[in-house]
């Protein structure tokens, strides 16, 4: 079979000749028979022709019937299609651009979905992996609980437990922070990940102070390159990590990034080494310290459901074993209600995933709609073209091509167009996914994704391309061949048409496009509005010219009085730096979704619920209100008199003062934490946001850094130019705290911007999509109207000759546009009203059915449609009636 196929392809001429001879021979035999019956040669030929259907048609049918014909005609069709498209470069460019954007936007969003949600980890049999969670809600575990699960486990052949951290590595005299993963002894064997050189570590290495080889580490390919320039002698080298000497025992292959999608670790350290390196060192004995993620590999033959059943059984005894006896009763009940579950862990864990899953799905829906618009546009463009290609079609039909052949030819053209669009779309996607990831990435959470498209992306793109090509090609193809041979040949010599040119589906498509545009623009408006509302929110402090520097505590960490001394000294020196107006310490920087809170006892207010007595807390330095520009409403700031030895004091926010002390006697009153000494309220400050921009104004409390946790951040109120200040501060750090690297230096505005990464991503993409939709729709509308004017040249000419005035002619054209626009707008608004609820969870400060957004959307579309109609209408009025009529 293959041979006949190849023979056919390479010996086409011979095959053609044989076919010709065979058919010709048949014809001759017929002629001879007629001649035997006494007909003359001419009469016989004529009679044979009547009986014979026409040699060319017969040959065409034979070619169609052949199996190998498939490939052969495809090639022929492709060549023909390419020639046709080359002949109209304007149309082709327009079509390819449309499809590039349509397919590219889809490919881009799908690529993100692919890397974040779908792509499996680069380990063998990834589908056996299960990611563990607690009651389907959180993915973090404490160490005692993990040990319990490991001991009682009957469903997993191995478990990988890990925790990601930034660690300090000594480079000559400087300290550098690198991303590390503390991984359990079972981590590499469970994943089935082998090292590219050296060995990975196992349970024997995962010991306090290391196994018999001492503390060990496995490094990534990237780190090997940066630090050791890919030298083979890297194995056995000693790195100083958080002050601990660790020897490199292995190098992972280039594609291995661990289990956390979106991050890239430089180094893997045994989990128990964290006890010495000081990261979470106090966590190992605590059942309230949720710092670990867990992946298990199913035993052979165990299904996901069976695994969950097995985990459910061990949940309660495990929890019972880990909770401390002195835990509060309500918290104990909460802990005991936790059920350990597992979900498919094929694609690992990603902290980013929960944040972007829903936005990505919605964006996927929106870009799919854009592609529909693009297809509708293409369908209209192609069918307008098909009408002008009527003669070509009729010639082909006359040459013996069946209708199916011609339709196939048209489809080949549209598939060729969409393939060109897909190629452009792939480039567009490569470029735009990088852009999108950079929008998602923040200093604290750098997003590192392997954006090389894999086969899924290509398959998706190919499927979308095929579907689009057929979708927009099939209708014009049928339309073009509808009239059949006779009608097609007769057509020519324009007829005077009036009213509606036969373009019904085209009009429907336009209304449909306009409706989708309404939906996409409204969504873009809502998301843009959300972003603007969030970005312009007044957080209660002044974010401009405010810089926050995070400092990483030395290892082993400094605590208590020495810590307070060092941070106090750093704060005081920072305040004297050039360009700094004032400086303070913070234990928590606002709007990063991190911090701590606690429940206070308010004497005489037993009527307040627990929720009403919670304060979000921050340990602050002197000049806190001046630096943050939080108004000090009453009392005083933290000052140098507040020390570890002096009375405990507290500043509270205005809303807490109002709620707790409605009579206005907050100042000087005392509140206290359970079982702790009373805190005197020394000041009342303005309300400000704590966790994030979306929260209701929370109740906050501020305690002196000397009386609480050590500070981790220095906040600087600066003048406009800060570069010299930053350099000077780094010098101060080197002098005052040589063991403490700087984690990050950011302005508060950067920090706020980064906290809006997801919202920004959503808003940017949806606005891009909305504008794209608008553009495509206006081009589509323009195209259809312009085509209508061309087709109705005769009619318009007659009307003008009969005395129709310009407004009447304009009306003729605009009337059509108005119809489609009106219907489209109504459909679109109806969809928005009924479906925008779906977006509610992603909106802030704007209702899904926001009348202003919908109103503006409708106005924008009306303006754009009017603009699209203006040009063809104008052209119609410039027709010269005489010329138009003469053309008939």
């Amino acid at each position: 079979m293959l041979r006949t196929l190849l023979t056919r392809l390479f010996r086409r001429r011979q095959v053609e000749n044989e076919l010709h001879e065979e058919v010709e021979g048949y014809f001759e035999i017929l002629i001879e028979r007629y001649m035997e019956r006494g007909l003359s040669r001419e009469e016989a030929v004529r009679a044979a022709r009547v009986q014979f259907e026409g040699q060319e048609q017969v040959k065409e049918k034979v070619r169609d019937a052949r199996m190998g014909a498939g490939l052969e005609t495809i090639l022929r069709d492709l060549r023909y299609a390419a020639r046709v498209l080359r002949k109209s470069p304007g149309f082709t460019a327009m079509a390819v651009l449309t499809l590039t954007l349509g397919i590219g936007a889809n490919t881009a969003v799908f690529s993100l979905m692919d890397v974040l949600l779908i792509r499996p980890l680069a380990v063998p049999h990834a589908d056996e992996l299960r990611l563990l969670n607690i009651s389907g809600k959180r993915y973090s575990f404490n160490y005692p609980l993990v040990r319990q699960i490991e001991e009682r486990n009957s469903v997993f052949s191995g478990m990988a437990t890990w925790s990601s951290h930034m660690v300090q590595v000594r480079e000559e005299s400087d300290l550098k922070l690198i991303p590390a993963v503390y991984a359990s002894g079972g981590y590499f064997t469970t994943l089935g990940a082998a090292s590219a050189a050296g060995r990975v570590f196992g349970p024997d290495d995962d010991r306090e102070l290391g196994g018999k080889n001492g503390p060990v580490a496995v490094i990534s390919d990237g780190f090997w390159e940066r630090k050791f320039a890919r030298s083979a002698s890297a194995i056995g080298k000693v790195l100083v990590i958080n002050g601990i000497a660790v020897s490199v025992i292995g190098i992972m292959p280039a594609g291995f990034f661990g289990t956390e999608v979106g991050t890239s670790a430089d180094i893997w350290l045994p989990l128990n080494l964290a006890r010495q390196t000081g990261d979470e060192s106090t966590c190992f004995a605590s059942s309230t310290c949720w710092f670990l993620q867990v992946i298990g590999r199913l035993k052979p033959g165990v299904s996901g459901e069976q695994a969950n059943a097995g985990l459910k059984v061990i949940s309660r005894p495990s929890m019972e074993a880990v909770i401390k006896p002195d835990m509060r009763a309500d918290r104990k009940a909460t802990y005991l209600s936790f059920v350990v579950e597992s979900e498919p862990g094929k694609s690992g864990y990603s902290a980013l995933r929960s944040r972007v899953k829903n936005p990505l799905r919605i964006l996927m829906g929106l870009v799919a709609l854009v592609l529909l618009i693009a297809c509708a546009n293409m369908a209209n463009l192609l069918s307008a073209r098909a009408s002008s290609r009527a003669r070509e079609v009729s010639v082909r039909l006359a040459m013996g091509a069946g209708r199916g052949r011609v339709i196939r030819q048209f489809l080949t053209e549209s598939l060729l167009l969409s393939a060109a669009g897909a190629a452009g779309g792939m480039l567009f996607a490569l470029w735009s996914t990088r852009l999108l990831v950079s929008v998602l990435s923040t200093v604290d959470d750098p997003v590192q994704l392997d954006l090389q498209p894999d086969w899924r992306v290509f398959a998706f793109s190919a499927a979308v391309t095929m579907a689009a090509g057929v979708l927009f090609g099939i209708w014009p193809a049928f339309r073009a061949t509808r009239h059949g041979l006779a009608a097609a040949l007769k057509e020519r010599g324009h007829q005077v048409r009036s009213g509606r040119p036969g373009f019904g589906l085209g009009r429907a498509l336009l209304s449909f496009q306009i409706a989708i545009s309404v939906v996409l623009l409204a969504a873009a408006g809502l998301f843009a509005f959300t972003l603007i509302r969030l970005a312009t929110i007044n957080p209660g402090f002044e974010p401009d010219r405010l810089t926050v520097i995070s400092m990483v505590n030395s290892r082993p960490p400094l605590t208590g009085a020495p810590a307070a001394d060092r941070f106090g000294r750093l704060m005081r020196r920072a305040a004297t730096l050039p360009g700094v107006e004032s400086a303070t310490l913070l234990s928590t920087t606002p709007l990063t979704n991190s911090g701590w809170n606690d429940v206070f006892e308010v004497p005489g207010r037993s009527d307040l619920s627990e929720d009403q007595r919670v304060l979000n807390l921050n340990a602050v330095g002197t000049h806190f209100t001046a630096t943050m520009r939080v108004p000090l409403l009453a009392g005083r700031d933290v000052n140098d008199g507040d020390t570890a030895q002096s009375d405990k004091v507290l500043l509270i926010s205005e809303n807490a003062a109002r709620l707790w002390f409605p009579k206005g006697d907050a100042l000087g009153a005392s509140v206290h934490l359970t079982n702790e000494p009373p805190c005197r309220i020394i000041g009342i400050v303005g309300n400000s946001l704590y966790w994030n921009l979306k929260e209701e104004m929370p109740m906050n409390g501020y305690v002196p850094y000397t009386q609480s946790n050590e500070g981790r951040y220095i906040a600087l109120r600066t003048q406009a130019k800060v570069n010299a200040t930053y350099a000077a501060f780094q010098q101060v750090m080197r002098e005052e705290a040589p063991g403490m690297p700087i984690g990050s230096i950011r302005t508060m505005n950067q920090q706020i911007e980064e906290s809006l990464a997801t919202e920004r991503l959503t808003a940017y993409i949806s606005v891009f999509i909305g504008v794209l939709a608008l553009l495509l729709t206006s081009v589509g509308l323009y195209g259809v109207l312009a085509y209508g004017v061309t087709q109705r040249t005769g009619e318009i000419g007659i009307r003008m000759a009969l005395g129709a005035q310009r407004p009447a002619v304009v009306w003729l054209v605009v009337r059509e546009a108005m119809w489609q626009t009106g219907v489209g707008l109504m459909m679109g608004v109806a969809v928005v009203l009924s479906a925008s609820r779906l977006l509610r969870a992603m909106l802030f400060g704007v209702q899904p059915n926001d009348p202003a957004t919908i109103g503006v959307t409708v106005v924008i579309l009306l303006v754009v449609c009017a603009a699209a109609a203006a040009l063809p209408a104008h052209r119609a009025t410039r027709l010269d009636p005489m010329r138009a009529l003469r053309e008939e």
Partner: protein
């Protein structure tokens, strides 16, 4: 003219295979033979015949070979192959099954 459009799908293939079972024939020969045997019920025009012949050759059931007619004209003779013979047997059985079933339905109704 050609009544092939009235033929059941696949019937033409069966007719051709059956016709070639006796001896190799060229295109005109096949058409003549079918017309003759069916006493003019089936007239196969070249527009149906050639595609069918090529399709069957493609499937390997028949084989085309250039030969000479008595008049000295070159013509392509088609012969049944081994797998064509097997196919013919299969199609015959199918056909009998279908016609028996149809007959039963029709006679029962009347």
């Amino acid at each position: 003219m050609a009544k092939s459009s009235d033929l059941l799908q696949g019937t033409l293939d069966l007719l051709i295979l059956r016709t070639l079972e006796l001896k190799p024939l060229h295109g005109v020969g096949v058409a003549d033979r079918i017309e003759q045997v069916t006493q003019g019920v089936f007239v196969v025009g070249p527009g149906s015949l050639f595609p069918a012949l090529h399709r069957l050759a493609e499937k390997g059931w028949i084989e085309g070979e250039w030969g000479e007619l008595e008049s000295g004209r070159r013509a392509r003779f088609y012969a049944l192959t081994g797998s064509g013979r097997a196919q013919l047997a299969k199609e015959k059985r199918n056909w009998l099954k279908v016609t028996t079933a149809m007959n039963q339905v029709l006679t029962e109704e009347s």
